[in-house]
C-alpha cells in the first residue's frame, strides 16, 4: 500500500473514531407545527472546517443552535465530545457553551461599549456574577483581550466604541470576543452575510486560520457556494430541514451544489 495513502487512511480513521460533534437522528418540530429539522444524522470530526449550505429557512441556523442548546431538539440527540447535550443543565450547560464559540450575522456587539469591554464579555462564564457585572476583569484577562484582538488585527481599535467600526471590523471584534472563551468549536452563523466582498475574505481567512493553527473545529453556515468550495474541508447541504448532501471537498462538484439550491 502506498505510504501516503496509509497515513491518510489512519488519520481519517482516527478522525472517524473521535467525532467532536455528532447528530443522532435529530428532529425538531416547532410548537406551531413547522418542521425545523428532520432526522439529521451525521458526525463532525475534530478539527474539521465544515460548511453548511442551503436556502434561508432550510434549517441551517437551527441545526447550528442545537449544538450549544440555544435551540432544543424534539427528537434524537446531539453529542458534543461524546456527551449528550440534553444532559446539561444550569451551570454545566453554561460550561458547555463556554467551549463552543459563536459568531453571528449581525455581530451582536454592544454598540455603545468599547471594543475592550465587548471582547472581555466573552469571558463571562469564568467569573462570578458580581465580578463580571462590575466589570472587574483580571489583568491577565485584559492581556488576553489584547492578544485576542491581535489575532484578528484589531488591537489598535481596543478603546474605540463598537459602533464606530465598520461591519468587517465589528465581526473581527466578535471573533476576538469568542476567542476569550477558549473554545474548541466555533459556530459561525452566516458570518459574512452583512459584509462586502473584501471584508468577507478577511473574516473567512481568520476563521480558516483558527481552524488550521489552533485546530479549532469550525462550522460555518453560508449562502455562497463559491466561498464554501474555497474554504471548506467538507460541505453538507440542507433543504427543508433534511440533510440532502454530505461530501468531502475533494468530491464536491459544481453540479451537486446547484442541486441543493434547486427548489423541490
Amino acid at each position: 500500500m502506498d505510504e501516503h495513502l496509509a497515513t491518510f487512511l489512519r488519520g481519517a480513521y482516527e478522525m472517524e473514531q473521535a467525532p467532536i460533534i455528532s447528530f443522532k437522528h435529530v428532529s425538531k418540530v416547532y410548537s406551531n407545527g413547522t418542521v425545523g429539522l428532520k432526522d439529521i444524522d451525521f458526525s463532525i470530526p475534530k478539527g474539521q472546517f465544515l460548511v453548511v449550505v442551503g436556502l434561508s429557512g432550510s434549517g441551517k441556523s437551527t441545526l447550528m443552535r442545537t449544538i450549544n442548546r440555544m435551540h432544543e431538539v424534539t427528537e434524537g440527540e446531539v453529542y458534543v465530545e461524546n456527551e449528550a447535550v440534553s444532559a446539561y443543565k444550569g451551570r454545566s450547560l453554561r460550561t458547555l457553551r463556554r467551549r463552543i464559540g459563536m459568531i453571528f450575522q449581525n455581530f451582536n456587539l454592544i454598540n455603545r461599549s468599547s471594543v475592550e469591554k465587548n471582547v472581555l464579555s466573552g469571558r463571562v462564564s469564568y467569573y462570578p456574577t458580581w465580578k463580571s457585572v462590575m466589570g472587574l476583569f483580571s489583568a491577565e484577562d485584559k492581556q488576553k483581550a489584547v492578544a485576542s484582538l491581535n489575532r484578528v488585527n484589531m488591537s489598535e481599535k481596543i478603546y474605540a466604541r463598537a459602533d464606530e467600526l465598520s461591519g468587517g471590523q465589528q465581526q473581527r471584534v466578535a471573533i476576538a470576543r469568542t476567542l476569550m472563551q477558549d473554545p474548541k468549536i466555533i459556530l459561525a452563523d452566516e458570518p459574512i452575510a452583512s459584509l462586502d466582498p473584501l471584508t468577507t475574505k478577511t473574516v473567512m481567512d481568520i476563521l480558516k486560520r483558527l481552524n488550521q493553527e489552533d485546530g479549532l473545529t469550525v462550522i460555518v453556515n453560508l449562502h455562497s457556494v463559491e466561498l464554501a468550495r474555497e474554504y471548506a474541508d467538507r460541505i453538507v447541504g440542507l433543504r427543508a430541514g433534511e440533510l440532502v448532501y454530505d461530501e468531502p471537498i475533494s468530491a464536491v462538484t459544481e453540479a451537486d451544489l446547484n442541486k441543493i439550491y434547486q427548489a423541490i
Partner: protein, 264 residues
C-alpha cells in the same frame, strides 16, 4: 510585547473623565434637589397612617354619587371636543405658515414657529387659572384653555406632517401657474388629510384627560366636583369621580384608537 501596538489613550479616556463627571453631576443634582425640596423619607413613613386612612376611605367608593357626576362628565367631553376643534381651526393656517416646504420666507416662518414654541411652553392648568380670572368660573374658561393648548400641540404636529409630503404634485401645479390656495387645496390637503384627522383624534384624547382636572381651578367639567369632594373630605365621592374619569378616558382612547387605525 502584545501591548506594543495598542493605541495611547487620552487622559480623558484613561481616567474615565466622562463617566465620573456625569456621575458626579448627577449625584450633586440629586443632593441639591433633595435639599431644595425637603425630601424626607422618614416623614412619609411617619405619616403613613394618615395616608393609609385616606386610601382606606377612597377604597370605599360612594357609588350613589355616580348619578351626580354623569352630567359634568358629559360636559367634560363636550369641552374637550369643542376646545380641540377651535384649536385645530386656528392651528391650520399657522401650521401652513410654519412648513418649510411651502413658505420660503425664513423670517415669517421663524416668527411663526417662535410663537408656536411660546404657546407650547404654557401648562394647561396655568392657562385655566388665568382664563377663569378673565371669564369667570365655568366651562368657557375650560374651552378656551383647551383651544389654546391644542393649538400649540396641533400646529406643531401638522407642520411636521406637511414637511414630509411628496413635492411632485405641488411642483406640477406651480409650473402651470396655480395660486397658492389652489395648490394647498388640491396638492397638499389630499396628501395629509388622514394624518391630520389622526393627530386631531390624538389631541382630543389628551384634551379629555386634561379637561378632567381643569375644573379643579373652576374651568368647568368634572374637575369642579373633584375639588368639591376633596375639600369636603368626601373621599368616597373622590374615588367614584376618579374611577368614572378613568373609565371615560379609556373609552374615548379606545374609540379614538379604533378610528385612527381605520384611517391609517
Amino acid at each position: 510585547m502584545t501591548n506594543a501596538n495598542l493605541p495611547r489613550r487620552s487622559w480623558v479616556q484613561r481616567w474615565h473623565v466622562k463617566g465620573i463627571g456625569w456621575t458626579a453631576l448627577m449625584v450633586l443634582l440629586l443632593i441639591g434637589s433633595s435639599k431644595m425640596t425637603d425630601v424626607n423619607v422618614g416623614m412619609f413613613f411617619s405619616n403613613l397612617d394618615q395616608f393609609a386612612d385616606l386610601i382606606v376611605r377612597m377604597s370605599n367608593p360612594a357609588w350613589d354619587y355616580l348619578s351626580v357626576i354623569i352630567q359634568p362628565l358629559i360636559e367634560t367631553i363636550q369641552m374637550a371636543i369643542l376646545g380641540t376643534t377651535i384649536g385645530t381651526v386656528f392651528a391650520i393656517p399657522f401650521a401652513l405658515l410654519a412648513a418649510g416646504n411651502l413658505v420660503h420666507n425664513k423670517f415669517l416662518r421663524g416668527f411663526d414657529r417662535l410663537v408656536l414654541d411660546l404657546v407650547r411652553t404654557l401648562p394647561d392648568l396655568l392657562l385655566a387659572a388665568i382664563f377663569v380670572a378673565i371669564f369667570g368660573i365655568g366651562s368657557t374658561a375650560g374651552v378656551i384653555t383647551l383651544a389654546i393648548f391644542s393649538f400649540g400641540m396641533i400646529s406643531k404636529l401638522f407642520y411636521e406632517v406637511i414637511e414630509t409630503i411628496d413635492m411632485g404634485p405641488l411642483e406640477a401645479m406651480e409650473s402651470v401657474g396655480a395660486s397658492k390656495i389652489t395648490i394647498i387645496w388640491y396638492a397638499v390637503l389630499p396628501q395629509i388629510m388622514n394624518q391630520f384627522v389622526s393627530y386631531f383624534l390624538y389631541t382630543l384624547e389628551i384634551n379629555v384627560r386634561a379637561s378632567t382636572v381643569l375644573g379643579y381651578l373652576g374651568a368647568g367639567g368634572i374637575g369642579v366636583y373633584l375639588q368639591r369632594s376633596l375639600n369636603e373630605f368626601n373621599y368616597g365621592a373622590t374615588a367614584v369621580i376618579i374611577l368614572a374619569t378613568i373609565v371615560v378616558v379609556l373609552i374615548i382612547d379606545g374609540i379614538s384608537n379604533h378610528l385612527r387605525r381605520v384611517l391609517l
